[in-house]
């Protein structure tokens, strides 16, 4: 185990929300990625939100293979979500949170899926309501490289969801 830890370098796999039209009524955007055979999907519940409306975030992991999939994380943190607007940082899920500082394993049996749900209340890192406009959300999966296959760079897409109404 120690030998593996020594070899481990942190790799961040970015999963970006897929581009969708900004239609409040339609289902939210999704972004798929595959990491070591495990399908990972980031999903928002809507493509556009009114000011102050919670942004529901779902990260789904599914192991479609017949073999067990195992990930190892350097802390208790298994994911993160980062919101930006026009390339400027707005909010990060892990900001204002702490995590246990022991290596953590995540095991997915064949066919098993795991679901992580979080929420963004549209307040930026300083606690202010984010203004109306188009935003990007990135999901981060901070597993060690020993355990994952990094998707080719070209697969990631940068797209948006929106906050409509409220201050601009």
């Amino acid at each position: 185990m120690y030998g593996r830890l020594l070899k481990m370098r942190m790799i961040t796999v970015a999963i970006l929300a897929a581009s969708l039209p900004l239609t409040p009524a339609m289902a939210g955007p999704t972004a798929p990625a595959t990491v070591r055979g495990v399908q990972i999907e980031l999903r928002l519940n809507k493509a556009a939100y009114t000011a102050g409306e919670p942004v529901e975030i779902t990260l789904t992991l599914l192991n479609p293979a017949t073999a067990v999939a195992k990930f190892q994380f350097p802390t208790g943190q298994m994911y993160d979500f980062i919101v930006s607007k026009d390339g400027q940082f707005v909010w990060q899920w892990s900001f204002g949170r702490a995590f246990t500082q022991a290596f953590t394993a995540l095991t997915l049996l064949p066919g098993e899926s795991k679901l992580f749900k979080e929420q963004w209340d549209q307040r930026d890192a300083r606690g202010h309501q984010a203004p109306a406009g188009e935003y990007e959300m990135v999901a981060v999966f901070p597993a060690g490289e020993v355990e994952v296959v990094v998707p080719p760079q070209g697969e990631t897409l940068r797209v948006r969801f929106a906050i409509v109404g409220g201050p601009r």
Binding site: Y2, G76, S94, F95, G96, A98, F99, T100, Q101
Partner: protein, 520 residues
């Protein structure tokens, strides 16, 4: 069986089994090494009188002879009586008449041509090897000298370790009878019975304080200590909200009394500087509570929190070969390091009771355990005194002084229980006011290595914010553990700035107050 001479400052408290060693040698006089000192390679110089000798058998010496020496003649010359001869070593244990000075006799013998060496018949302590069957799987206690420390004390139920963490499995036999009534600070409270996915708190508690020498499992560093479980992280995810952490730190601080000191262990961290947690840690300090935190697992020279808050002992992780664990966060804020790779400790009973985990989370409770051992002997020590005791008795790694990779070095439990060293820290309070002498809350204050007239910013040592009221005193930024030295302070808001006009000294154990006036 390992043997050593133990030169502890609390010798009257030694409860260990004593072993009178019939065979001694001049090269085995190993005292507890101080910081940066290797193992001595020869005998120590003789003291001026017998009172200065380490533990020895009264009226006995050991004489080593050169081959062909007339042993009987030498023994008669010092009015001695041969008690035991080891021919293979050409040495004789000799009894002396009462009221004979051992030191004087040895000096006399050292002047005789046929004598190779003469020395007291030292008494060595038998290290307490606990009866726990999995002790052999624990490399951490051995590495930090815990068995020698246990000859002095294994802690006290009145010296409490607060495990500010996920749940601690109170049904675990390793914690039988020692779990105190803690609290659950998670919001909303994670219900009892939530499936255990994160076993962290139970593992951390075991490293610090699992019952030792009980024939079961493992031995914690301070195995007699009480455990105060304070839940601030979700057992379902390992996530720890800042407000929960602050709640937990305050709970632990309020639990402490003058006769029941508390050490808080926070094996958690994050990137954000949270004023609420900073205030909670300052509050703990005021309650005389030491806070120990893991430095972080990003493997970089970064500052994570709460390890980065002034006064918190930031603990990094080492490997069995005394290297910095590749994941261990390091930097100038690091206090000491401790074992943190493949650490065997308790897990919830439902998932097998014992297992391995790695991380700086595992390093911190080694240090918290040592702090609890110190406080079990000296419950009145301040947090900075305990911290100084641990830092100044640590075994330097990397360099012969402070090293950003290892802090002050590898914690040394046995040495930490030796004679008390002076504290290396003082306290500073900076009051910030504007031109009208109105107190300013929320100002950022940097404490930096002083220049004569406080011109030009040198190395920033610590930063803090002035209180806006509520917790702390309005307009005051507290620095609870500032290394002794000369400092300047600079305060700033979005629109105003100011500095002290002259450097001021920080003296160990003494509060220093200064006023900084800020302006546009």
């Amino acid at each position: 069986m390992k043997r050593t001479l133990l030169q502890a400052g609390w010798a009257p408290l030694v409860l260990s089994v004593m072993l009178v060693v019939g065979c001694t040698s001049g090269s085995g006089l190993v005292g507890v090494p101080g910081p940066g000192h290797g193992v001595p390679t020869g005998p120590p110089p003789l003291p001026s009188s017998d009172a200065g000798l380490a533990d020895h058998v009264p009226q006995q010496i050991v004489i080593g002879f050169l081959s062909g020496a007339d042993i009987r003649k030498v023994i008669v010359a010092v009015n001695g009586k041969a008690l035991k001869e080891i021919k293979e070593l050409n040495s004789v244990t000799v009894g002396l008449p009462s009221a004979t000075s051992i030191v004087d006799t040895i000096r006399r013998l050292q002047g005789m041509a046929s004598v190779r060496y003469a020395e007291p018949n030292y008494v060595y302590h038998l290290f307490l090897t606990p009866s726990d069957p999995f002790f052999s799987k624990q490399w951490g206690p051995q590495k930090i000298g815990a068995p020698a420390a246990w000859d002095i004390t294994a802690g006290s139920p009145n010296s409490v370790i607060a495990v500010v963490d996920t749940d601690v499995d109170s049904t675990h036999p390793e914690f039988s009878g020692k779990i105190l009534t803690g609290t659950n600070c998670t919001m909303p409270p994670e219900p009892v019975g939530t499936p255990v996915r994160v076993m962290h708190g139970t593992h951390v508690a075991g490293i610090a304080a699992a019952i030792g020498n009980n024939g079961v499992g493992i031995a914690g560093i301070s195995w007699a200590a009480g455990i105060l479980p304070i839940k601030v992280c979700l057992t379902s995810s390992g996530l720890c909200d800042n407000s929960a952490i602050a709640c937990g730190v305050v709970f632990g601080a309020n639990f402490a009394t003058s006769t029941m000191p508390v050490v808080e262990n926070l094996s958690l961290g994050g990137a954000g500087y949270a004023q609420q947690i900073k205030d909670a840690i300052d509050y703990a300090f005021q309650k005389n509570v030491l806070v120990v935190a893991s430095s972080g697992n990003d493997g970089k020279s970064t500052v994570l929190f709460p390890a980065g808050f002034p006064g918190v002992m930031a603990v990094g992780a080492t490997t069995p070969t005394n290297d910095r664990a590749t994941f261990s966060t390091y930097g100038s804020h690091l206090s000491v390091v401790a074992p943190g790779v493949d650490i065997y400790s308790t897990l919830p009973v439902a998932v097998g009771s014992y297992g391995l985990l790695s991380g700086t989370s595992m390093a911190a409770p080694h240090v918290a355990g040592v702090a609890a051992l110190i406080l079990s002997l000296s419950p009145g020590l301040s947090p900075t005194q305990v911290r100084s005791q641990i830092e100044r008795t640590a075994t330097h790694l990397g360099s012969s002084s402070f090293d950003p990779q290892f802090g002050w070095g590898l914690v040394n439990a046995a040495a930490a229980l030796g004679a008390l060293v002076p504290s290396n820290y003082g306290q500073v309070q900076i009051t910030v006011q504007d031109a009208t002498a109105a107190l300013v809350g929320g100002a950022d204050v940097a404490l930096w290595v002083g220049t004569a007239s406080c011109l030009g910013l040198t190395q920033v040592v610590q930063t803090a914010q002035t209180s806006s009221g509520g917790v702390g005193t309005l307009g005051v930024a507290p620095f609870n553990a500032v290394p002794v030295g000369s400092y300047c302070a600079t305060a700033s808001t979005m629109t105003q700035k100011g500095s002290t006009t002259a450097a001021f000294p920080v003296v160990a154990g003494t509060p220093t107050t200064r006023i900084v006036t800020i302006g546009p």
